[in-house]
């Protein structure tokens, strides 16, 4: 009988000296879903995953897997989990095949299973010719593919991917996505920590957004899009510091929210009936001496959801 991989985080907290990396996380991940964990760098995604894998002990709280507290019984958790790390963790002295063999053997796959699955995944990821190559000589993208391949070979009940397509070219990204979907089809529950909105939108059934260690939003993509101020989005690029421009726009009637895209001179304005409000916005900005470089009107995306919830933390 197949394991039902229901995971519950109950008040999970991890404190490092004075910093609270994860704070009172309460979350349930359903069986056989792909759950996307979004959040800016340092939001606590990786720390959460490390606690789930029993690599790190929580300061407070528990993680329940199928009714078993895996903080108290870490071996039970590890038997059901597999994690592909954000930074590939491979032995550079060993070949691609030897690294995969080690992982598969550690996960107690039989010799036949190991051979079949390694052959299949290396072929699929277009890496058959590299199987005898030492990992130390591979590019970052190839290492990342091997990191993911470990979990594709293992096929654990709970598969965890931390930024699975970082460093990958476009064809490889699609192959990895397809294989993650195959894992789900095969009955695995997938937890996907990512910063890539297209990846989250394509793969995840539900999403959770973490900022500063706190879960600030959770739901399906549609639900999250509906949860931010309704209407349209105006993308506006200005010359110079966008902060005073944002303050001016916030004063305009019916503008619901203005978010500055971090590290840029771009603004996102959330409002209803953007086409009707646009002349007034432009008039106000020109009147205040603001120089607009570009402007575009569109419907809200997951990127907007992310900025809405994580914007302050960026």
């Amino acid at each position: 009988m197949r394991l039902i991989s229901l995971i519950k985080f109950e008040g999970l907290t991890k404190r490092f000296k004075s910093t609270e990396a994860v704070s009172e996380l309460r979350l349930t991940i359903e069986d056989k879903e792909i759950f996307g964990l979004l959040g800016p760098n340092g939001a606590g995604k990786t720390t959460t995953l490390l606690m789930l894998c029993s690599i790190m002990k929580p300061t407070k709280g528990t993680i329940i897997l199928n009714g078993i507290n895996i903080v108290q019984n870490p071996d039970e958790g590890r038997r059901n989990l597999g994690i592909a790390f954000q930074e590939p963790v491979l032995d550079s002295r060993l070949t691609v095949e030897q690294n995969l063999e080690f992982h598969a053997e550690a996960c107690r796959l039989t010799r036949t299973e190991r051979r079949e699955r390694i052959d299949a995944i290396l072929g699929y990821l277009d890496m058959s010719n590299s199987r005898k190559q030492k990992v130390g000589s591979l590019s970052g993208g190839m290492k990342k593919k091997i990191e993911n391949a470990k979990i594709f070979i293992q096929r654990p009940p709970i598969a965890i991917f931390d930024e699975p397509t970082a460093y990958l070219d476009v064809p490889s990204r699609h192959r990895v996505w397809k294989e993650i979907e195959n894992l789900k089809q095969g009955g695995s529950t997938v937890i996907l920590a990512t910063n890539m909105m297209d990846e989250a939108e394509r793969l995840a059934n539900r999403l959770g957004i973490l900022t500063k260690g706190k879960l600030v939003a959770m739901g399906t993509t549609g639900y999250l899009k509906d949860s931010i101020p309704q209407g349209d989005v105006i993308d506006l690029q200005v010359t110079g510091d966008p902060t005073p421009v944002a303050q001016i726009i916030r004063q305009i009637e019916r503008v619901r929210e203005v978010v500055i895209v971090p590290q840029t001179n771009r603004l996102r304005i959330y409002l209803a009936q953007a086409e009707l409000r646009l002349p007034e916005i432009m008039e106000t900005l020109i009147g205040k001496g603001t120089r607009v470089e570009s402007i575009a009107v569109r419907e809200p995306s997951l990127d907007d959801v992310f900025l809405h919830y994580a914007g302050e933390a960026l």
Binding site: M56, D75, F85, R93, E105
Partner: protein, 255 residues
């Protein structure tokens, strides 16, 4: 339980032997030290000082301990690198028990060291012939000692945060333990202050045990006092390494 230990052990031994030049050089160095340095010194040192052995024979048996010490200590370097690179975290995410990882790493340190000492052991047997049971007993004792050294090395590998410091601590430990022991020179030739340290140094006990075992006849009594001291050292060092390893890998210090 056994399966997890076997998997980690095989990986550790495999990766160790990939470092062929490093291992080969270390063995070659001690080989040359024995056949040149010890040979020359033996011409100048009276054998009455060292219990009837020539210095060449004395040194050849001591070099086994030096080799075992250096090779088994290398596992600490591996643990340090694994921690820094995140490989330790990876191993902890695998369905292998923590205790299996700890035991496997200590055993791999000792196994690698015994593999490494074999060429030197052949040289020592040529210089100081002994019976097969005594040779096996010596190797078993060296293996036991290597488990203890691995424990110390793992402790250092997990406690020190910077590579330079890790190397420095390793050098200091080997300097103190090897130089304040009977591995290279007899206790009778040492100044009084050094003898005090030598008498509590586990390396002294393992060096003396190996010499006594190699020279003794089959029907002679085993050097139980020395062997007990080696066992005690291994138990303490192994416990310390395991305790710290389990503390760190259970998330206490991992960040």
């Amino acid at each position: 339980m056994i399966e997890g230990i076997r998997i980690v052990l095989v990986r550790d031994i495999r990766t160790y032997f990939l470092n062929f030049y490093g291992i080969g050089f270390r063995t070659f160095y001690l080989f040359l030290e024995t056949v040149i340095f010890a040979y020359v010194v033996s011409k100048a040192v009276s054998s009455t000082l060292i219990g009837g052995l020539s210095y060449l024979q004395f040194f050849a048996l001591g070099a086994l301990v030096t080799s075992i010490f250096g090779s088994s200590y290398y596992v600490g370097r591996d643990v340090y690198k694994d921690r820094e690179s995140g490989y330790l975290n990876y191993m902890m995410s695998l369905p292998i028990r923590r205790s299996e990882i700890i035991i496997a790493r200590s055993l791999s340190g000792a196994t690698r060291a015994v593999f490494n000492v074999i060429p030197l052991y052949c040289l020592a047997l040529l210089l100081v012939p002994t019976s097969l049971p005594n040779a096996v007993a010596s190797l078993a004792l060296l293996f036991t000692f290597a488990v203890g050294v691995s424990g110390i090395a793992i402790t250092v590998g997990l406690s020190v945060r910077e590579e330079v410091k890790e190397r420095l601590v390793g050098t200091l430990i080997s300097l103190v333990l090897l130089r304040a022991s009977t591995v290279m020179y007899p206790i009778t030739a040492m100044p009084g202050w050094l003898q005090v340290g030598t008498k509590v140094d586990p390396v002294t006990y393992v060096s003396d045990s190996v010499r006594l075992l190699t020279l003794s006849q089959i029907n002679e009594a085993m050097p139980l006092e020395e062997i007990s001291a080696v066992l005690l050292f291994t138990a303490l060092a192994g416990f310390l390494g395991s305790w710290l390893f389990s503390r760190v890998i259970e998330g206490g210090a991992a960040e």
